[in-house]
Symmetry: C2
Subunit: 182 residues, 2 copies
């Protein structure tokens, strides 16, 4: 599965729509994955905020390795994505358990998930402790152009998920707000 | 248009899917609206993070009044929502310009938008200056149960928007992760 590099100035587009993400880490040589919906773009430089805390097994990996990859699953991975979020890396090797393929990145040791639509390699720039917010800096971004199913999905918070339907193009109404190259 | 109160413990569900939002403020008696996609839930108590800064006209209103309302537009408001984001409250009375109806809230002076699907009245708890992140605390939440068009939409960052399509129900796979009452 060949991944194509996405120019880093377009990487905020992976985050801005608010899809469910799979966050991968590697700690002491061991890969892990967590599911997260609480994230947002911070600017057009691929700076991203992520809300989590010590109750997540991945928290220690994020704090000690200062790295992760944000992977964007398509809807054919929805059930796996939910199951990944419902077990802990303390008990399970999630790549093995869920039949996912780790690929090496270029900027970080945390693995890309080969089955995802896109992957953003990130460094942890900061953790804002009282608010429980990680500040991530995206470094390299990748997309899988050959994937057939490309619809992402969004958590409603009650166990239901909204799958992307039609696309509206309103670019002509906001041309001056779109960064160059996007 | 009668609004129904949404229990505050369900208000994170308005934010978690990542829809485009309309943020209303009232400063010196003057209402304003900004369009934003960079937001995330912080917990199940309706605490929300919002990324913006002094380049937005609403920034001063947020800082000085310490209040706002997060309004969720449905897709029939998509064109207005984009146009609202493409002009400044410094020049335009946006409620008047876009034919929207301000309604009084219960917790804050900032207005609810009658035409939206749902509204979350918020207090500004903090502004994290170096990161450009507002921390909001949702206080009262409202939904418009009579609205026919209920699909929300998500910004892709390039002037295109993903409209909600089908809903997946995976609740049975994550029952233990869903807060009580949701």
């Amino acid at each position: 599965m060949p991944l194509t590099e996405l120019p880093i100035e377009k990487a905020f587009m992976l985050i801005e729509p608010g899809p469910v993400l799979l966050v991968t880490t590697q700690n002491h040589g061991r890969n892990n994955i967590m599911t997260i919906s609480w994230h947002m773009a911070l600017d057009f430089s691929a700076r991203v905020a992520l809300a989590t805390g010590p109750w997540n097994y991945s928290f220690n990996a994020l704090m000690s390795t200062r790295e992760c990859v944000l992977n964007v699953p398509a809807v054919d991975l929805a059930e796996k994505t939910v199951r990944i979020g419902d077990c802990s890396g303390a008990d399970v090797d999630k790549f093995k358990e869920f039949g996912l393929t780790p690929l090496p990145g270029k900027a970080v040791r945390a693995p890309l998930i080969a089955e995802c639509l896109a992957c953003l390699e990130c460094r942890v720039a900061d953790y804002l402790e009282p608010q429980g917010i990680f500040i991530l800096q995206g470094e390299r971004a990748w997309v899988n152009p050959d994937r057939k199913e490309r619809r992402t999905f969004h958590a409603n918070g009650d166990g239901t998920f909204a799958v992307n339907g039609e696309t509206l193009n309103l670019r002509s109404l906001m041309a001056d707000k779109i960064p160059s190259g996007v």
